[in-house]
Symmetry: C2
Subunit: 248 residues, 2 copies
DNA sequence: CTTCGCCGTTGATCCATGTCAACCAAAAAA
DNA sequence: TTTTTTGGTTGACATGGATCAACGGCGAAG
């Protein structure tokens, strides 16, 4: 297929129109004709090994990245060394949007496993957005979705208790695995307890204890990073049904 | 002045090029020629009385709003009634970006005082972005800035202690008042202790106590909503210099 | 195979912040 | 003006999650 296209650095020309992640990624919802025009958008792919940075806070912003394989975390660091995981990203999700604002990345993106991303030059994206009907809207939706997601995390951090936070986290992971064709009830977490804790505003011990409690109560099965959701309804109820009188 | 321009519903034709908030608002950084083309962007102004909603979660998304006068809060509400203030917005700032993602607003925007906004039809914004060089980038920057701001709030909620959160909040307010030509050291908060608490993930009593402590320590002067910053360096130090060994 | 280091679990204790309650001050209503 | 309502302060006490510490197991490296 597409034999006439020059071979890229990574051996295969990247093409959104040929990618099985379209449904999850930037081009979601775009017409076929628009989609074809998109193939020039993705310049190259880039492999990032586990624990390596895709970019760091302070790096000049030049491109955004679509995750083709693997997963990442993003975190921000305070001068005094405290840091906070601001998100976990899976295939099809977009990284790097934080850089547009100032032209400099404001957080770190680190691969949680050996991963690969599509490099999307921001200059090219801007240019193409003027031409390709639909791309602009899609891009705006991606950014807006990130804002809405962030508001959800604020809600979680600002007004939920430890077990509620973890339940919300697990349900969210499940939903995202499902969207990618994996089991909704059984999955492998790529991040450590400490990283989960940082994301949820909790200490790793608290995360571990909450996992154990959930297991005792028959809500989930835990073996290290391998999770089975046994009672999603129960988890959902846990989030809504706070202890009488209003939570924190 | 501007006698030749037709009188709009609100008595004055809105025009970005004539607005003294350009420096803070969407058109920031755009060329004069671009700016002139923008004047058709703002359809109308809308007055919102104190405590009234500019929009509600669930409302269909049609426009974004630039604050011309006054201030707002945005909040999200969980099914069980718990709610969380996700931000406070001042003149020149943009509201409504959350709606692009799904076509439906995902949070409430409420005026903290009698306010006025410029209504920017999103459809028109999209259209103009294709034509006006520079508008697209500016809009992207506005969205990206919101994402970066949200990450800062996550940091605050996830890894700072009560007094650190309040200090960060006060310094942030001061900085934003300054950008609007008001005193950096003395200002009037438009929101209640409860709203501040909700934003910072704290109870109103905790906010009140932190204010009192700051006052005792000579860092600030408090009289109800009227705040004087007496020792901004001290406040800044408070944020960085956590209790030995790493905070929460 | 063995060793080492990281990650996760669990227990005991402490403390920051939540909760409950009383009271006061300012602003709004009458 | 007086009354009422709302918002803010402060105290006493309760508690969820942090902290400190010990230990166990899996996986990587040799």
């Amino acid at each position: 297929m597409r034999a006439s296209v020059p071979i890229s650095v990574n051996g295969l020309k990247t093409a959104c129109s040929q990618c099985n992640l379209v449904e999850l990624c930037l081009p979601f919802g775009m017409s076929d004709s628009d989609l074809d025009q998109l193939d020039e958008l993705v310049g190259a792919r880039r492999k990032v090994k586990r624990q390596q940075n895709l970019y760091r806070a302070g790096d000049p912003f030049e491109a955004i990245y679509a995750i083709r394989a693997g997963s990442f975390k993003t975190d921000v660091v305070l001068e005094d060394g405290r840091d906070q995981v601001t998100g976990f990203q899976m295939t099809g999700e977009i990284l790097g949007l934080d850089g547009i604002s100032t032209g400099t990345h404001s957080c770190n993106a680190v691969a949680l496993e050996d991963s690969e991303v599509c490099v999307i030059s921001y200059a090219k994206l801007e240019e193409l957005s003027h031409k390709v009907e639909g791309l602009q809207l899609q891009f705006h939706k991606v950014m807006s979705r990130e804002i809405v997601r962030d508001h959800g995390v604020m809600m979680l951090l600002g007004s939920m208790r430890a077990e509620e936070r973890l339940a919300a986290f697990l349900l969210n992971m499940s939903q995202r695995f499902t969207a990618r064709g994996f089991s909704a009830a059984e999955f492998h977490l790529r991040m450590t307890r400490e990283e989960i804790g940082s994301y949820l505003g909790l200490k790793l011990e608290t995360v571990s204890r909450a996992f154990s409690r959930f297991q005792e109560e028959g809500l989930i099965g835990v073996q290290q990073k391998h999770i089975r959701l046994l009672d999603t309804a129960g988890l959902r109820k846990l989030i809504q049904h706070q202890t009488a009188g209003g939570g924190r």
